[in-house]
C-alpha cells in the first residue's frame, strides 16, 4: 500500500514533467515567429569618420525605437545589430561576414562611407542580404547587384544638379572649383564639370585638396586671382568650414556653393560669420512643416547634444524605409523585401518625398538647396527637374 501510494505521485509527476517539456518544446519552436527582426547596421564608430558614424548610430537607434513603440513590424520588434566598420573596407568586409554568419542577419542598413559600403555590398549581395546604403555615394554600391539600394543621390547627379543651380537658378557663369580628392568629392565634381557647359558655365580653374587638409592658403590666393562669379567646393563640413572662412578672410565675396556634406551646424560654427550666404546643395530642409521631422530634430538634439545633420536624417529614413519594405512585403524574407523596396512609391523621408527607385535602385527625388542666413540653414529652393540629374541605370 505504502509502496503503491508512493509510486503513484511519482508517475504523475513524470507525466507532468513530460507534458511540460512538450509545451516548452512547442514554445521554443514557436519562438522564432515572435522573435525580433534583426537589422544589421554598419557605421564608423571609431577613427577619423566617427563624427558621421555617431550621428548615424543615434539616428538608426531612434528609428528602431520609434518603429517598436508604434507596435513594431508584422507584430515583431526590430532590433539593430550594430558593428563599427571604421569606414575602412577591411573592417566592412569583416563585420559584413559577421553579420551574415554569426548574427544571421538578412536585412542591413549601411550607415557608413563609400569605401566601406562598397566593400560590404558584394558580400551582402552574394549572401542574398538586402542592404540600403544610407549615404554612401560610390556608384559601385548599387552595381553590386539587385539586393542593393541607395537612399542618397549619387555624386554625379548631385554635381549635375549643382551646375543647374549655379548656371540657371543663380545665373552665375564663371566658376572656380575646389575638389576634395576622395571618392565622394571627385565623383560629385565630375558630375558638375560634365553638366557645366549645358548651362553656359565656364570653369576658370580647378583645385583639389586632401580630406585631412584644413589650410587652404594657396588655393585661396589662386581663387582670388581667378576672380570668379562663384566658387563651387566639394567637401565635408570640417573641411568646408575652414575653407569658407579662409576664402572670406582673403576678401573674396562671391557666392560659395558647397556640396551636400557641408550640411552640419558645425559648419556654421567653424566658419563663423564667414558662413553667411553659403549655399549647400542637397542639404536637408530643416524648416519643412513636417511633424516627423520636427519631432526627430528635437529628440536627436536631446540625445546627441548637437543638431542632426543630413547624415542623421538620411540614416533614420533608411531604417524607416527598411521597416516599410518589410511591411509591404508582409515578410522579412530578403527577396520579398527587395521586391517591395524596388516598388517603393512616394515614401515620406525626413528630407521630403522619395518618388521611388530606378532600375539600378538609385533614388529619384528632388534636390533641395539651403543657404546660411543669420547662422541658420534656410531653404533656397528645390531642384525638381529630375531629368537634369537622372542617375545611371547600370
Amino acid at each position: 500500500m505504502l509502496k503503491r501510494s508512493f509510486h503513484a505521485p511519482t508517475l504523475s509527476a513524470k507525466v507532468v514533467l513530460g507534458l511540460a517539456s512538450v509545451v516548452l518544446l512547442g514554445a521554443a519552436t514557436m519562438m522564432p515567429a515572435r522573435a525580433d527582426i534583426k537589422i544589421g547596421f554598419q557605421a564608423p564608430l571609431t577613427g577619423p569618420s566617427a563624427t558621421d558614424g555617431k550621428s548615424a548610430q543615434i539616428a538608426g537607434q531612434m528609428a528602431v525605437e520609434d518603429i517598436n513603440s508604434a507596435g513594431g513590424v508584422l507584430g515583431q520588434k526590430l532590433e539593430l545589430v550594430i558593428y563599427d566598420d571604421q569606414a575602412k573596407s577591411d573592417q566592412a568586409i569583416f563585420t559584413a561576414n559577421k553579420l551574415i554568419g554569426e548574427d544571421g542577419v538578412k536585412l542591413v542598413v549601411n550607415g557608413s562611407y563609400s569605401a566601406s559600403g562598397r566593400a560590404a555590398a558584394p558580400i551582402f549581395q552574394k549572401a542574398g542580404v538586402v542592404m540600403i546604403s544610407a549615404y554612401g555615394v560610390h556608384p559601385d554600391i548599387t552595381r553590386a547587384g539587385d539586393f542593393m539600394f541607395r537612399l542618397v543621390h549619387l555624386g554625379p547627379p548631385q554635381g549635375a544638379a549643382t551646375a543647374l543651380y549655379i548656371g540657371k537658378t543663380l545665373g552665375l557663369k564663371k566658376v572656380s572649383t575646389i575638389t576634395m580628392d576622395n571618392d565622394y568629392g571627385q565623383a560629385t565634381m565630375d558630375g558638375f564639370l560634365e553638366a557645366a557647359s549645358k548651362y553656359g558655365i565656364e570653369v576658370l580653374s580647378k583645385y583639389s585638396y586632401s580630406l585631412k587638409d584644413r589650410q587652404f592658403g594657396s588655393i585661396v590666393a589662386s581663387v582670388k586671382r581667378d576672380n570668379p562669379d562663384a566658387i563651387y567646393a566639394t567637401g565635408y563640413f570640417f573641411t568646408g568650414g575652414p575653407l569658407v572662412a579662409q576664402l572670406r578672410a582673403a576678401g573674396i565675396t562671391v557666392p560659395i556653393i558647397g556640396s551636400q556634406a557641408f550640411d552640419s551646424e558645425k559648419f556654421v560654427e567653424i566658419a563663423g560669420p564667414a558662413a553667411e550666404g553659403t549655399y549647400i546643395v542637397d542639404s536637408f530642409d530643416r524648416d519643412r512643416k513636417d511633424e516627423a521631422l520636427q519631432k526627430f530634430f528635437t529628440e536627436f538634439k536631446k540625445r546627441a547634444g548637437y543638431a542632426p545633420e543630413g547624415v542623421a536624417a538620411i540614416t533614420y529614413s533608411a531604417v524607416m524605409l527598411m521597416a516599410d519594405g518589410i511591411k509591404r512585403a508582409n515578410s522579412d524574407d530578403p527577396a520579398k523585401v527587395r521586391d517591395a523596396l524596388a516598388a517603393t512609391k512616394d515614401f515620406p523621408t525626413l528630407e521630403g518625398s522619395l518618388n521611388g527607385f530606378n532600375s539600378l535602385h538609385e533614388i529619384l527625388m528632388p534636390i533641395s538647396v539651403n543657404v546660411i542666413k543669420d547662422g541658420q540653414f534656410k531653404p533656397a529652393g528645390e531642384i525638381t527637374d529630375l531629368s537634369a540629374f537622372a542617375p545611371p541605370e547600370k
Partner: protein
C-alpha cells in the same frame, strides 16, 4: 600680388611646420627614435588651448596652460614609454610611439567628442589688409611666434650653460657626459621644450582652422616626419630650412599642379625629388 599672397601663405605654413618638427628632430638626434607620438602632443596642445581659452575667455591663458601641460606630457612619454624600450632596436620604441598616437586620437574622440571644438574668440576671423594683400591675424601670430621662439632657442643654446650642455649632448653624448652633463636631464629638457613648441604650433593651427578635432594631429604625424628627413635627421638648422622650403613649395606648387594634386601630394613629390638629388638631406652633416 598673387605671388605675394602665396608667399605669405608659404612662409606662415613653413613657420608652423618648423615649430612642430623641431621637437621631432631633437628627439631623433638624441635618442634615434622616430617620435611619431609627437603628433599626439601637438593635438593635446591644441585641445588645451581651445578648452582653456574658451573657459577663461583669454587666448593667452590658453597658450600658457598648453605650454605647462604638454611638457609634462612629453616628459611622461619619455619616462613611461621610451625609457623602458631604449634597450631594444630603434623600431620597437617607434612602434610603441605609433600605438600611443592611435590611442590618443581615439582618446581625444571619446573624451572631447567627434564633432570638434571651435573657439569663442573672434581672433580667428581678424584680418588686415596691406595694399590689397590680406593677411590674417593668426598668420602674423604664427610668423612672429616662430621668429621669437627660434631666436630665443638660439640664445638659450649658445648663451646659457644648460643650453650649451644640451647642444653638446645632442652632438657628442659621450664627451658631454664626461664634462659632467647629466644626459638624462638633457633628455627631459629635450622632451619638455619640443613638446611646448608642438603645443604652441597646435594652438596656432587650431586658431587658423577655428577647429580642434581628433584628427588635428594627422598633418604632424606624417608631414613632420618628411620634413626632418629632408632636413637631415637630427639637424635643427636643416629642419628649419626644410620647413620653410616645404611651406613655399606647397604654396607655389598649387599654381602648376593644383588641379591634379593636393597640397600633401605636392609636398611629398618635392620630398622625393629633393631626396633623389640630395639623399643626405639639406644639411647632411649628421645622417644616421
Amino acid at each position: 600680388m598673387y605671388y605675394i599672397d602665396l608667399a605669405v601663405t608659404g612662409v606662415s605654413i613653413g613657420c608652423m611646420y618648423a615649430m612642430m618638427s623641431v621637437g621631432l628632430t631633437l628627439v631623433y638626434g638624441l635618442l634615434r627614435i622616430l617620435h611619431v607620438a609627437h603628433a599626439a602632443v601637438f593635438a593635446l596642445g591644441a585641445y588645451v588651448v581651445v578648452l582653456v581659452a574658451n573657459a577663461t575667455g583669454s587666448l593667452a591663458v590658453g597658450f600658457l596652460a598648453a605650454i605647462i601641460v604638454t611638457p609634462l606630457f612629453g616628459m611622461a612619454i619619455y619616462r613611461l614609454l621610451y625609457e623602458p624600450l631604449l634597450k631594444y632596436r630603434p623600431d620597437v620604441p617607434m612602434i610603441a610611439s605609433v600605438g600611443l598616437l592611435v590611442l590618443m586620437q581615439d582618446a581625444f574622440r571619446i573624451v572631447f567628442g567627434e564633432q570638434g571644438i571651435t573657439f569663442r574668440s573672434t581672433f580667428a576671423f581678424t584680418t588686415y589688409n596691406f595694399a590689397g594683400i590680406t593677411v590674417s591675424a593668426v598668420q602674423i601670430a604664427i610668423v612672429v611666434t616662430a621668429a621669437a621662439i627660434f631666436a630665443g632657442l638660439h640664445l638659450f643654446t649658445t648663451r646659457t650653460r644648460i643650453g650649451v650642455g644640451w647642444r653638446a649632448t645632442v652632438s657628442k653624448p659621450q664627451i658631454a657626459a664626461s664634462f659632467g652633463i647629466d644626459p638624462i636631464k638633457v633628455r627631459y629638457l629635450n622632451f619638455a621644450i619640443g613638446s611646448a613648441l608642438a603645443a604652441v604650433a597646435g594652438g596656432l593651427v587650431a586658431l587658423l582652422n577655428n577647429l580642434v578635432d581628433p584628427g588635428i594631429g594627422f598633418v604632424v604625424s606624417y608631414k613632420a616626419l618628411a620634413i626632418i628627413v629632408l632636413g637631415g635627421l637630427g639637424s635643427v638648422r636643416g629642419t628649419l630650412v626644410a620647413s620653410l622650403v616645404l611651406g613655399l613649395v606647397e604654396a607655389y606648387g598649387t599654381i602648376f599642379i593644383g588641379a591634379w594634386l593636393d597640397r600633401d601630394a605636392i609636398a611629398f613629390l618635392a620630398l622625393i625629388v629633393l631626396l633623389m638629388v640630395r639623399p643626405q638631406g639639406f644639411t647632411g652633416a649628421r645622417t644616421a
